[in-house]
Symmetry: none
Subunit: 180 residues, 2 copies
């Protein structure tokens, strides 16, 4: 029913079904994961009036599972990209996987999907910054940084006439920086 894809890795399409309405994907080496895509395979839709809440679960320093709500998938929005880097120091939230005691391995995190009534999903608030739409402002941020960089680098710019003789020092034409 569900697939899970860590950006840069092979897709997973066979979650562990830990309860009738709960599915778990393992994320090995989770410290090196930035983005996770969770999607419905398109084979079986949710029953009418139901959808899935998507959780990220990772072991805290004492090996206890910390669960954070990332967001949702539904028949109307059957896939979502989440950014999980940056969540690892966050606080846990309420979650429906409580009694399961998934075995925690220090380097392995989980994506958990819980099938629930849509009206229940509507009352849950995902952690901030997990939805990838926040990448927009981020691009603007780097654009600003690069503008700053050009201002910074060009403050060191010299013309050949001003150069002190040192034939081995490498110089970069300023217009290359601008074009980039």
């Amino acid at each position: 029913m569900f697939g899970c894809l860590v950006a840069g890795r092979l897709v997973q399409a066979a979650p562990q079904q830990v309860a009738e309405d709960k599915f778990v994907f393992d994320l090995p080496d989770y410290e090196n994961i930035n983005h996770v895509v969770v999607f419905m395979l398109g084979t079986i839709p949710f029953p009418e009036g139901m959808g899935g809440s998507v959780y990220f679960c990772y072991p805290d320093q004492s090996g206890m599972a910390v669960w954070q709500l990332l967001g949702f998938v539904t028949n109307e929005k059957p896939s979502a990209i989440f950014k999980i880097s940056g969540l690892k120091s966050g606080k846990g939230s309420q979650h429906p996987f409580g009694a399961m005691n998934l075995p925690q391995t220090p380097t392995v995190a989980q994506i958990g999907i819980s099938v629930e009534l849509l009206e229940n999903l509507a009352q849950q608030t995902p952690v901030a910054n997990a939805a990838v739409s926040s990448v927009d402002s981020f691009t603007e941020f780097t654009q600003k940084m690069l503008d700053n960089f050009y201002n910074f680098a060009s403050s060191f710019a010299v013309t050949q006439a001003q150069m002190t003789p040192n034939p081995s020092e490498a110089f970069i034409p300023a217009n290359v920086v601008l074009k980039w």
Copy 2:
């Protein structure tokens, strides 16, 4: 061999094979797409020494196809997330789909995957700001960008001994770029 997923929509796993080594997914209503995930299904790997270049193709105002290189998938990195919103006003780049004349519909864009030698892929430069999956954090992301920038800029580096006389052209000492 390939899957394609528009964030928020159902996954596609059946591209149109337009040549022995070229695959195309249609992206209907592309103006409302932010992120696209391209991934190998895990069934058939690339032949040894080969990988896939991933292109975004959209119709310009006159209905001509504009192709932009987004990035790559390989056996070692079998999936990638790309941000295509923001690319739609960009310039086209060289691409290997030239002779195919894919029919252009105003609201439909394409993802094209071309299977090529890895050494050819290494010489191609994707459009800026398309890759999402390599984004670690503001710092790492900008560090990567700046590394790329330094590699790019230093390919233009000259020493004073190599300079053609043009006293008005501004130059930036390369170590300024490195220190930054």
